[in-house]
C-alpha cells in the first residue's frame, strides 16, 4: 500500500546539510519530510575526515563558516551531543617560504573575520610542535578551529530533526520527482508518495541529476578522497593539520588514533568508493614526512566516500534558476562538514523568509550558464 504524505517541505538527502535543514525548518514550525536512500549521515557526511575548520576557505565562504562556527559551539543544546567536537586548533603547514607567504596573505585577507590566525615559524614553530617533520618551515594556526567525529555528528542532526518532528524516511530512494507548477510530487517505489510546496535538493554527490531534471544542469563531478586511520598511539598532537599546497591532512583523536586523508580514492561504482593503492602509498610518504613518529605506526583501515565537486570548488546554495520552490544545497568539494549546519539554516531561511541572512551570492547556480547558452560559447 502506498503511503501518501502532504507536507510543506520535502528534502532529498539526509546528510548533514539535509538533516540540519530539516531541523532548522522544524524550529520554524514548517512540516518536513526527509527522504534518504541509505541511512542519514552514512555517506560523505558520516565518513569524512572530521575537520571543522574555517581557515583556508575561500573568503566568500567565511560568512557561512562563521555562522557554522557558532552552531558548532551549541551542538549539545541543538542535537543533544557534542559528537567529539573540540576546538583543538587547526594548523596549516608551510613547507617553503613561498607557502608561508601565501599563509600570511590569507591571514591578511581574512582579517575582517577575526579568525585569530597566528603565524608560527622558526624557534617558535619547533617549540610548539616538536613532533613536526623537518620539511616544515612554518604554519598558520587557528586555535578556534577544530575537529569532530562525523560518524556521530551527522546522524545526530537527523535524530534531532526527527525528535523535533521531521518525518524522516531512511532506506527510501526517490525514483521520480515531478512538478505540476505548484507542487512537487516525489515517489519512492510503490511505498511512498510525497507532495510538497518546496523541495530541497541536498543529495550530495548525486544532487546534479535532480538539478538537471529541472533545467539546472551543473558540471559536477564525483570525487573520492582517500582516507586512513592508524592504531591508537600515545597522544601527542591536539591540532588538526593541513598542508599549504599539499594534499595530506591529519588529526589525532582522543583515543589516540590518527585519522589521515589525501589524494584520490577510487569509485567502485556510482555509489561506492574505496581507497586506492597509489594514493595510499603517496599518503604514507607524505604522512611520515609530516609526522616522523608515524613511520612504524600501522594503518588499520582505509576508506573513501563519494563527494560532489564543481569546477570552481564552490558549492551551489540557493534557489533554482527555473523552478519556484526548489532550492539546492550541494557540491561542497570535500569541505561541507563544517559549513553544513549553517547551510541547513540558510536553506530554512530561504524557504521561510525568501532570503538568507548570511551572504550566499557566490554560490548561486546562475554562475553556471544553462546548457542552451553554453553551447555557442563552446563553439567559439
Amino acid at each position: 500500500m502506498t503511503q501518501r504524505i502532504v507536507t510543506d517541505v520535502a528534502i532529498v538527502g539526509g546528510g548533514i546539510v539535509g538533516s540540519s535543514a530539516a531541523l532548522a525548518l522544524r524550529r520554524k514550525g514548517l512540516r518536513v519530510v526527509l527522504l534518504e536512500r541509505d541511512l542519514c549521515g552514512s555517506r560523505s557526511s558520516g565518513v569524512n575526515y572530521g575537520g571543522v575548520r574555517r581557515q583556508g576557505r575561500p573568503i566568500s565562504q567565511l560568512p557561512l563558516a562563521q555562522r557554522a562556527h557558532g552552531i558548532w559551539g551549541r551542538l549539545p543544546e541543538l542535537i543533544g551531543t557534542e559528537g567529539e567536537y573540540i576546538r583543538s586548533g587547526h594548523f596549516k603547514i608551510a613547507r617553503s617560504e613561498a607557502d608561508l607567504a601565501a599563509l600570511e596573505a590569507y591571514r591578511d585577507s581574512a582579517h575582517d573575520f577575526d579568525l585569530g590566525i597566528d603565524i608560527l615559524s622558526g624557534a617558535r614553530l619547533r617549540e610548539r610542535c616538536p613532533w613536526l617533520g623537518g620539511k616544515a618551515v612554518g604554519g598558520s594556526l587557528c586555535m578556534e578551529d577544530g575537529q569532530a567525529n562525523p560518524r556521530l555528528v551527522s546522524p545526530a542532526f537527523a535524530l534531532a530533526a526527527a525528535r523535533a518532528g521531521a518525518d524522516i524516511h531512511e532506506r527510501t530512494r526517490v525514483d521520480e520527482i515531478a512538478h505540476d507548477g505548484q507542487f512537487f510530487h516525489l515517489r519512492a517505489g510503490n511505498a511512498l508518495q510525497v507532495k510538497s510546496q518546496v523541495l530541497l535538493n541536498c543529495a550530495g554527490a548525486w544532487a546534479s541529476a535532480i538539478a538537471e531534471q529541472f533545467g539546472d544542469a551543473v558540471p559536477m563531478q564525483s570525487g573520492h578522497p582517500a582516507m586512513a586511520v592508524t592504531e591508537p598511539l600515545p597522544f601527542f598532537m591536539h591540532w588538526s593539520l593541513g598542508v599549504e599546497g599539499g594534499t595530506v591532512y591529519c588529526r589525532q583523536v582522543a583515543r589516540g588514533n590518527l585519522v589521515l586523508g589525501g589524494g584520490p580514492g577510487r569509485a567502485l561504482d556510482a555509489d561506492r568508493a574505496r581507497s586506492d593503492r597509489a594514493s595510499m602509498a603517496a599518503l604514507a610518504t607524505q604522512a611520515v614526512e609530516l609526522l616522523p613518529v608515524l613511520r612504524d605506526a600501522h594503518f588499520i583501515r582505509t576508506w573513501s566516500g563519494t563527494e560532489g565537486y564543481l569546477p570552481d570548488r564552490q558549492p551551489v546554495i540557493g534557489p533554482s534558476r527555473t523552478t519556484s520552490g526548489l532550492f539546492h544545497g550541494f557540491g561542497f568539494a570535500g569541505a561541507g562538514f563544517q559549513v553544513g549546519p549553517a547551510v541547513g539554516e540558510v536553506l530554512a531561511e530561504l524557504v521561510s523568509d525568501g532570503r538568507s541572512t548570511t551572504p550566499i551570492d557566490a554560490f548561486g547556480i546562475g554562475r553556471f550558464a544553462p546548457a542552451s547558452t553554453a553551447e555557442p560559447a563552446l563553439a567559439q
Binding site: L39, S42, G46, R151, L152, P155, L159, T230, E231, R266, L268, R274, S275, D276, R277, M280, A281, L283, A284, T285, A287, V288, L294, R295, D296, A297, H298, F299, I300, R301, T302, W303
Partner: protein, 464 residues
C-alpha cells in the same frame, strides 16, 4: 615480454591451497602460492619451526597421516611452484595483490590472471565476561601453541564452547600431559544423539570424534554438556571458570581457558575482490558465493576451502583440487572431468555430514540474550554489550555498519574479525531481527594492520 595465457595465484597454503597448487602444477603451470605462514600446512596442519623434533604422530595425533600427505604434497612441489611464505596479502586492486613480506619488511604488488582464494578460517568467538584476562585463548590458538611451538597455554586448563575442535583440542592437550580440568560443551547430549544419523555419513570422522570423547572420559576428564560459560575469574590472570547448568552455577579452578564456537571463514580478501556475498544459514554467516565447482561471482576468482564456508580439512583438500580443475577447464586446459565430478560428489555428500555437525554442536542461540551489559564484545576498542544495546535504543541502529559508526565496535586492529560475530548476535537480539538481517561489516584494506612506511611498494612486478 609476452604474458602467459594463465597466470594463476593461490592465496593460502593450507589443505585447499596446497591441493590447488598441486593440481595446477600437474597440468604444467607454475602457480604463485602466497602464504602468511613460514611453512605451508595451514592452521590445521601447521608445522613447527624446521628444527623442532616432535614427530607428526605426536603433533597431529589421528590426523598425522593426512598432515604428512599434505606436507609431502607441498614439499614435492617446491621446484614447480613459486612458493612465497611469510607473505601477507593485505589488499587487492586492478588484478594485483598487495603483499607484505615479513622477513624483508617489503611490500610488493603481485599481478594475477586467475586467483584461487584459500584463506581458511579462524575461531568463532562468543565472548564471556573475563575473556580478556591473560590465560584465555581461543581453541584454535590453544591448538596452534601446541602444534607450532610445543607449548601449552597452562598447566590446568578448562576447554569450553562447542564444536568438534573442543574435544580434539582437549584430547591433544591431555595426551600432551596437560591437566584438563573440564570440557564444558554448550551443546546438549541430546543434540549429539540426534545428530548421529547424519554424522554416520562420514563414519571414519564420526568414529574419531567418539574416540576423543571416550578417551577423555576414560582418563577421568570431566565432560559436561549443556554447560553455559558464565564468567572467567581472575585478577592478574585466569584463576577459575564459573559455568551454569540448569540454573545452578559451578566453579572450577584453572590457570588457562581455551574456548570457541567452531570456526568462521576469513572472507576479507574475497570481499575486497568484489565477490558477491550471500547469507548461508548453516554457517550462520554472510559468505562469498561459490558455485559447486568453486567459481566466485567474479570471473577469474575462485574460492576453495574454509575461507568460503566451514567444511573442514578433508573438504578443503577436495575443494582445492576441484577448484584448480575448474580454473583449468575454464581456460581450455584439458582436465579429467570424471575426477572433477567425483570431487563434486564427495563435497556434496559431505554437506549432509556437515549439517549433522551443526546439529551436534549447535550455535548457542541464547548467547546474546545471556550476555550481560558489562561484557566486552570488542576488545580492540573496549566496546561492551551494554554500549551496543544503548546505541540501538538511542539511535535505532539496526545494521552492522551503522552500529560500528556509532560505537566503534569492529573499528580496531582486528577490524571485526574477532568481534563481528558477537556484535551481529547482540544487534540482532537487541533489534529483534534474525541475524542475517543485520548485515556484515564492510570490508576495507588493509586486511591486517600494515606499517605505514611499508605502504609504498618496494618494487612492482611488471604486468605485461
Amino acid at each position: 615480454m609476452t604474458r602467459p595465457v594463465l597466470q594463476p595465484v593461490v592465496v593460502g597454503a593450507g589443505p585447499a591451497g596446497i591441493r590447488a597448487a598441486q593440481t595446477l602444477a600437474a597440468h604444467g603451470l607454475r602457480p604463485i602460492v602466497i602464504d602468511e605462514a613460514a611453512r605451508a600446512g595451514g592452521q590445521i596442519y601447521r608445522r613447527p619451526p624446521a628444527h623442532f623434533k616432535r614427530t607428526p604422530q605426536r603433533l597431529y595425533g589421528t590426523e598425522a597421516g593426512r598432515a604428512i600427505a599434505v606436507h609431502a604434497a607441498i614439499d614435492d612441489l617446491q621446484d614447480r611452484i613459486d612458493h612465497r611464505p611469510d607473505s601477507l596479502v593485505w589488499s587487492a586492486q586492478d588484478q594485483q595483490l598487495d603483499v607484505l613480506h615479513g622477513p624483508t619488511q617489503t611490500t610488493r604488488t603481485v599481478p594475477y590472471g586467475q586467483l584461487i582464494v584459500a584463506t581458511g578460517a579462524t575461531d568463532r568467538v562468543l565472548p564471556v565476561p573475563g575473556w580478556t584476562l591473560p590465560g584465555v585463548y581461543t581453541l584454535g590458538g590453544a591448538q596452534v601453541a601446541l602444534k607450532f611451538q610445543g607449548c601449552a597455554i597452562g598447566s590446568r586448563v578448562v576447554f569450553m564452547g562447542t564444536g568438534p575442535l573442543l574435544y580434539l583440542v582437549a584430547y591433544q592437550y591431555a595426551k600432551a600431559g596437560v591437566k584438563v580440568a573440564a570440557v564444558l560443551d554448550t551443546a546438549r547430549f541430546v543434540d549429539q544423539l540426534a545428530a548421529v544419523p547424519a554424522m554416520l555419513r562420514q563414519p571414519a570422522v564420526f568414529a574419531k570424534g567418539v574416540t576423543y570423547i571416550a578417551w577423555l572420559r576414560a582418563h577421568g576428564v570431566a565432560l559436561r554438556s549443556g554447560a553455559r560459560p558464565v564468567r572467567i575469574l581472575g585478577e592478574e590472570r585466569v584463576r577459575s571458570v564459573v559455568w551454569a547448568e540448569g540454573g545452578r552455577e559451578h566453579t572450577i579452578d584453572c590457570d588457562a581457558v581455551g574456548f570457541g564456537y567452531a570456526l568462521r571463514s576469513e572472507t576479507q580478501l574475497a570481499d575486497l575482490l568484489g565477490c558477491r556475498f550471500a547469507y548461508a544459514p548453516m554457517h550462520r554467516a554472510h559468505l562469498p558465493e561459490r558455485d559447486a565447482a568453486g567459481r566466485s561471482s567474479v570471473p577469474g576468482v575462485y574460492l576453495a576451502g574454509d575461507g568460503a564456508g566451514i567444511m573442514g580439512a578433508d573438504a578443503a583438500e577436495w575443494a582445492g583440487e576441484l577448484t584448480a580443475l575448474t580454473l583449468l577447464a575454464d581456460h581450455s586446459v584439458g582436465v579429467d572431468t570424471q575426477r572433477a565430478r567425483v570431487l563434486q560428489q564427495k563435497l556434496e555428500k559431505l554437506s549432509g555430514f556437515r549439517a549433522g555437525l551443526e546439529r551436534a554442536f549447535p550455535f548457542p542461540e541464547d548467547w546474546a540474550a545471556q550476555a550481560p551489559d558489562e561484557l566486552v564484545v570488542c576488545r580492540c576498542e573496549n566496546v561492551t554489550a551494554g554500549e551496543l544495546r544503548r546505541a540501538v535504543a538511542d539511535s535505532g541502529a539496526d545494521e552492522m555498519n551503522r552500529l560500528k559508526a556509532l560505537t566503534r565496535v569492529g573499528m580496531g586492529r582486528c577490524q571485526g574479525r574477532m568481534c563481528g560475530v558477537a556484535a551481529a548476535e547482540i544487534l540482532a537480539h537487541a533489534t529483534g531481527q534474525p541475524v542475517q538481517q543485520v548485515g556484515r561489516f564492510r570490508g576495507q584494506a588493509p586486511i591486517k594492520p600494515i606499517p605505514i612506511h611499508l605502504l609504498r611498494p618496494a618494487d612492482e612486478e611488471v604486468a605485461a
